[in-house]
């Protein structure tokens, strides 16, 4: 039952709104991601205000490691910007270098985070240890999955750049960058909420 018909190939060039189609797709995707993390953060705040005693738990997180990791992720955002800047200038080598650095920084973030989880679980603070820990592991875990997704995407971009497949498709670096900055911004919210918001005797 095979058919013969006209198949459209190539990208439809028409862009009625002026915003490139790929970019708009990514923006809509990020909009839905914002409400996903928004819902999680909102639930966290509601539950925390509603129950109390979480401050004590939050004090067990390692602020130095968290701060360092924040720094790592922020730097990776910078290298991503530089990768796109290089791509726009047509500097393929620069683009590859900065992409590789972004990937490595993302991996560094995950390794440090993994180490933190290990030591917390070692100290007995498993996801079963109460609501705070349930939230902590879910929020950082979901975020880490997003970081992992970003690392995979950036690695694919890096590898296709190595093979010269990215020539003429440099805008993909920009799209991946949008996502990577989003992942970074989510962490900017999670870090103070989880690590820094504890006082002696606070909720």
């Amino acid at each position: 039952m095979a058919q013969t018909h006209v198949v459209a190939t190539g990208v439809e060039a028409r862009v009625a709104s002026g915003i490139p189609t790929g970019k708009m797709g990514v923006w809509w995707f990020l909009a839905s991601e914002i409400v996903l993390f928004g819902g999680l953060i909102g639930s966290f705040v509601m539950s925390r205000v509603g129950s109390g005693g979480w401050s004590e738990m939050a004090a067990h997180l390692s602020v130095p490691l968290g701060t360092f990791n924040t720094f790592v992720l922020l730097t990776s955002s910078l290298t991503m910007v530089l990768a796109f800047a290089a791509a726009e200038k047509g500097d393929q080598k620069g683009m590859r270098t900065w992409l590789l650095l972004t990937v490595l920084l993302g991996l560094a973030f995950l390794i440090i985070k993994g180490f933190e989880w290990g030591s917390e679980i070692g100290a007995g603070f498993t996801p079963m240890a109460g609501s705070f820990w349930s939230f902590y592991y879910t929020m950082t875990g979901l975020h880490a999955l997003h970081v992992l997704g970003g690392v995979v995407v950036n690695s694919i971009l890096f590898l296709s750049a190595l093979m010269g497949l990215l020539r003429g498709r440099e805008h993909r670096v920009e799209l991946a960058g949008l996502y990577w900055h989003f992942v970074d911004i989510v962490w900017i919210f999670l870090f103070p909420l989880l690590y820094l918001s504890w006082t002696k005797g606070g909720i």
């Binding site: 060039a13 409400v35 999680l40 509601m46």
Partner: protein, 563 residues
């Protein structure tokens, strides 16, 4: 203009029918998935109605039901109808088929993403199907899945069934998030030349609003579903008070999504009706722009009403009235749409083929659904009717109108475009009248049962003294349900018979204006012979400057076209 390379290519069977990236084939796949689940959902309805009318007797064709199985029936009936019938048909099938055609595009903005969405839904369907057969059976904590009942296997006796239920829903959400990206990007970016936003058919506006509502409301529930799964399998305590969690958190997350979700289903149904009314009234839709503005207003309001599902949940009673006010206010934009549809009929030249009958049926049925919503929305009245059959009847009047009346209207209307053949009118009219009468025969008794205080989700009303005198109403509703299900046979016959032997359809059998009618029936991959140029809005019927009663959007005749 578009720089396109067209290649003559032999496309394999798999690429045409299975892993297709053509939005029209994808739409048909959605339709197939939706219709499959509609059959399953209908059978579940038969069984649960049987149990209610003749408790603890053997249902013909099945056997003994009983309370545990009954809980599974209501849970899966709700889940299937909302997520696996309504969304695949109204958004998946109609949205996918019509959006690119109506905006004058050759396909969706991201055809591969589109294919991924339908296959994610197929996977989700498979997971849901498997969940029926795992030990312990499928989910039975209600389609709303309230914890703690849903958060610990011991409370329901269902372990993997409910885990898979969560997984299936998560996949379904992912599928429609991907669709949403296409549904929004395509009309914004791939509109044909001349197609300004305010020349888009209302159906496209409705689909876009639905997509935005879905994408902006489902995130918190996805987060909530992850938490629920972790409570179940990892011993977390988001919803369990023993570990410091709060059961009400889920209700907030669920209904923050749940109420917009009602409009995610309803608006595309309304969009279908709004397309059909002008065609068979031979008149422009009355108040095109006011309808768009009130759709947007209703969409925004729908994010502010969720706690009307929680008036008696134990939340702060001071919160009830604000939510009650916003809920009742939402009747204003919908009233405007209803009035606009009736005003469209005024001074028209109205004919009554099957699609128009179903469209009118949608309006009548929705009117009752919307008006009875005021009872539920009023906080003090809700104290009494919450969780009764009044609510069940109410939401069936709204959702059945959108899903089945509007859905059938759309199928009869666009069948010639989808499959290139006309459906049979006599069978169609028979189908309409039977469905319309029997639908009311099923659900009007439920309003009365609700007034009598009959609770939802009880397997045996005879266990309650105050409900025993109401039992004849239950029996009546059950018999009507069985007849309503049988009344779908004319449709099934008509559908398959017309598919192969129906009268071959021309391009524009209904003499309608929107762009899909300028494409061949059925349109080939790529849709249009040449990309159409749009000169006017979608509803220029009986325009004084032309002798015909219709004036397609892409016909370059009228001097006022450049306005």
């Amino acid at each position: 203009m578009s720089a396109r390379v067209e290649v003559e290519e032999r496309v394999s069977f798999f690429r045409t029918y299975v892993f297709s990236i053509d939005h029209k084939m994808i739409a048909k796949q959605y339709l197939a998935i939706g219709l499959f689940w509609a059959v399953v959902g209908g059978l579940l309805a038969y069984l649960l109605r049987w149990q209610l009318a003749y408790p603890d007797t053997e249902a013909p064709g099945w056997g003994f039901i009983g309370p545990e199985f009954y809980n599974m029936l209501v849970t899966m009936h709700g889940t299937i109808m909302v997520f696996f019938v309504a969304m695949p048909i109204l958004l998946g099938a109609f949205g996918n088929f019509l959006i690119p055609l109506m905006v004058g595009a050759r396909d969706m903005a991201f055809p591969r993403l589109n294919m991924l969405s339908v296959w994610t839904l197929a996977l989700s369907s498979l997971v849901l199907l498997i969940s029926f057969f795992v030990p312990g059976g499928a989910a039975s904590a209600g389609w709303t899945g309230y914890p703690p009942l849903s958060a610990k296997p011991i409370y329901t006796g269902v372990n993997w069934g409910l885990n898979l239920w969560i997984l299936a829903l998560a996949l379904e959400f992912a599928s429609f998030l991907m669709s949403g990206i296409n549904f929004l990007t395509t009309p914004i970016n791939l509109r044909a030349p001349g197609m300004s936003m305010f020349r888009l058919p209302l159906l496209v506006w409705m689909q876009m609003t639905a997509a935005i509502l879905f994408m902006l409301s489902v995130g918190p529930l996805i987060a909530g579903a992850i938490m629920l799964l972790l409570d179940r399998v990892a011993g977390a305590s988001f919803y369990l008070p023993q570990g410091g969690g709060d059961p009400l958190l889920w209700q907030h997350l669920f209904w923050f999504f749940g109420h917009p979700e009602v409009y995610v289903i309803f608006l595309p149904g309304l969009g279908i009706v709004l397309e059909i009314f002008p065609v068979f009234s031979r008149k422009p839709i009355f108040g095109y722009r006011p309808i768009i503005y009130s759709t947007i207003a209703a969409g925004i309001l729908s994010f502010t009403v969720w706690a009307h599902h929680q008036f008696i949940s134990g939340m702060d009673p001071r919160l009830a009235m604000p939510f009650s006010v916003t809920t009742i206010l939402i009747s204003v934009p919908f009233a405007l749409m209803v009035f606009a549809m009736i005003a469209t009929l005024w001074g028209g030249s109205i004919s009554f083929p099957t699609p128009m009958l179903f469209a009118l049926g949608t309006l009548a049925v929705f009117l009752i659904g919307g008006l009875t919503g005021i009872f539920n929305g009023s906080a003090p009245v809700d104290i009494y009717i919450h969780s009764t059959y009044f609510v069940v009847a109410h939401f069936h009047y709204t959702l059945f109108s959108a899903l089945f009346f509007a859905g059938f209207a759309g199928l009869y209307f666009w069948f010639p475009k989808m499959f290139g053949r006309m459906m049979n009118e006599a069978l169609g009219k028979l189908h309409f009248w039977l469905t319309f009468l029997l639908f009311n025969a099923v659900f009007i008794p439920m309003f009365l049962l609700g007034a009598g205080g009959m609770m939802r989700r009880i397997a045996n009303p005879m266990q309650y003294e105050f409900l025993r005198p109401l039992q004849p109403l239950n029996t009546f509703a059950t018999i009507a349900t069985i007849l309503l299900l049988l009344a779908q046979l004319p449709f099934v016959v008509n559908f398959f018979w017309s598919l192969f032997a129906g009268k071959v359809a021309e391009r524009n059998p209904w003499q309608a204006n929107t762009l899909e009618w300028s494409a061949p029936s059925p349109p080939p991959h790529g849709n249009f012979d040449t990309v159409p140029v749009v000169y006017r809005g979608p509803y220029e019927y009986s325009h004084p400057s032309v002798s015909e009663e219709w004036l397609p959007q892409d016909r370059p005749t009228m001097p006022t076209a450049t306005a």
